[in-house]
């Protein structure tokens, strides 16, 4: 069957078998390997992508079900050479060790901040509770997301302006 969707702002159309899972479509057909394939059982959350802005576990969504929808993967987070504040936050606060859970964690963080720009630490923990970091680096992941909340897009430029005017 033929499916069409928007991936990171680009329209794609492909011929697929209906049983292909979204995670394999993204990795194998589109060669976007930033989305990781982990437990295959809806538990670990490393395969999280955004579907119409909402985090979903792409091992439990058929590619056919994403037909007509907008998908964002980790490759779509940065704006050109400018990192998303979430990506910057993971750098600043050492939010990754082995990096396997990181793409899913960052996309969930992006969706959380879009929905709730100033989350409490407990709300961050709740938001990522469906994802597993096998390095157990949860404290730094929470701090990374807090960093991103404190540095929303555009804030850096505004701060600079204020500093100049001061």
């Amino acid at each position: 069957m033929q499916i069409s969707m928007t991936i990171n702002g680009t329209d794609v159309t492909r011929e697929i078998e209906p049983r292909v899972l979204l995670v394999h479509f993204i990795r194998d057909d589109l060669r976007l390997t930033g989305t990781h394939w982990g437990c295959d059982t809806t538990n670990c959350g490393t395969c999280v992508v955004l579907m119409d802005g909402q985090p979903v576990k792409s091992c439990t969504v058929l590619a056919a079900m994403a037909d007509g929808h907008a998908i964002t993967t980790v490759e779509g987070l940065a704006n050109g050479a400018t990192l998303d504040p979430v990506q910057q936050g993971f750098m600043e606060e050492h939010g990754l060790q082995c990096g396997f859970c990181t793409p899913g964690m960052m996309l969930t963080a992006r969706a959380l901040l879009d929905h709730n720009p100033h989350p409490e630490p407990l709300e961050i923990r709740e938001a990522i509770s469906g994802q597993i970091c096998r390095c157990t680096g949860y404290a730094t992941i929470v701090r990374s997301i807090q960093w991103a909340a404190e540095h929303p897009v555009g804030a850096t430029a505004e701060t600079t302006d204020e500093e100049v005017h001061a």
Binding site: G45, T60, A64, G130
Partner: protein
């Protein structure tokens, strides 16, 4: 790598279209909503439908409506929508309590109330919630609609009264005044099935005594409400002694199996303790709502 067996895929454009597709493709066709129960089963080849009928475009079934003295919930309402609804929290906090601990936040973005009820997993939380709230399932088929009590809807583990050519379209929950409810679950980790869970709904009369009560248990081998507690509680003012007796009756009424989530005596202990907790919470909430109305 877990990949489903081959199947053909079609999207339904309306409820009538979904029913026509079920009729046309016959016994080996299955409806998929959020897909978070069916797709894992297909990946394990425990389910092998020839046709998958996707009903995610049926936005007409994604609604929450307070309709006089009934809350009407469309079958495609996502868990996240139920969790975030102020009407649900105000009228039926048992649903909000349960939704907080159903799967995880990402799974809740996809999973639906209709899918959960039709999966009829013995460890599924909303089934207990709907039993406790005396919900009615609205099922539509070629011959029209029929209304089923939860007792009639649930045939047993993984089995419901919904025929192959029918669709659950709505869940109706009666709204009672001076009532409240609560749910509590013990799980090993976020997203796991319940070791055990309990739900309660109570109504209080003008003197503060219990006029109506329902208690249900999840994952402990009881697919009906714990009706034994009614005789003990109805007509009585809520007290710790009564909750203790209700907990004892619940632990006797259930019939849990020993598995990797715990031995039988531990699960009976949870049925007892959780029954006491949800009765305590439901009575406290109901009393608060009565005093709000009085003021």
């Amino acid at each position: 790598m877990q990949i489903p067996a081959p199947f053909d895929y079609v999207r339904a454009s309306s409820v009538d279209n979904a029913l026509a597709l079920l009729d046309r493709h016959g016994a080996e066709s299955r409806v998929v909503a959020g897909g978070h129960s069916l797709l894992p089963m297909m990946k394990l080849r425990l389910a092998r439908p020839d046709w998958l009928i996707d009903i995610n475009d049926l936005f007409e079934l994604d609604y929450l409506l307070v309709d006089k003295d009934v809350l009407r919930i469309g079958a495609m309402t996502r868990h996240t929508t139920l969790l975030e609804s102020d009407d649900v929290k105000r009228l039926f906090p048992i649903i909000t309590d349960a939704e907080r601990v159903i799967a995880d936040p990402i799974v809740r973005n996809r999973g639906t109330i209709g899918g959960s009820l039709c999966q009829a997993d013995p460890a599924e939380d909303l089934s207990t919630v709907c039993h406790v709230l005396e919900a009615v399932a609205v099922v539509r088929g070629p011959a029209g609609e029929r209304m089923l009590s939860m007792a009639d809807f649930h045939r047993g583990p993984y089995e419901t009264a919904v025929a192959q050519n029918e669709l659950l379209i709505e869940v109706r929950i009666p709204i009672r005044s001076d009532s409240s409810s609560a749910y509590e679950k013990v799980e090993r980790r976020v997203g796991d099935w319940a070791v055990a869970a309990a739900g309660a709904s109570v109504s209080l009369d003008s003197a503060g005594a219990i006029s109506q009560v329902a208690v249900g248990l999840t994952a402990v081998g009881l697919d009906r409400n714990v009706t034994e507690v009614e005789a003990v509680l109805v007509g009585q003012a809520p007290t710790e002694e009564l909750f203790t007796e209700a907990g004892r009756l619940a632990s006797l009424a259930c019939d849990p199996l020993a598995d990797q989530r715990g031995p039988i005596d531990y699960k009976r202990h949870l049925a007892d303790e959780l029954t006491r907790r949800v009765l305590r919470a439901a009575c406290r909430r109901a009393a608060a709502s009565v005093s709000e109305i009085t003021i």
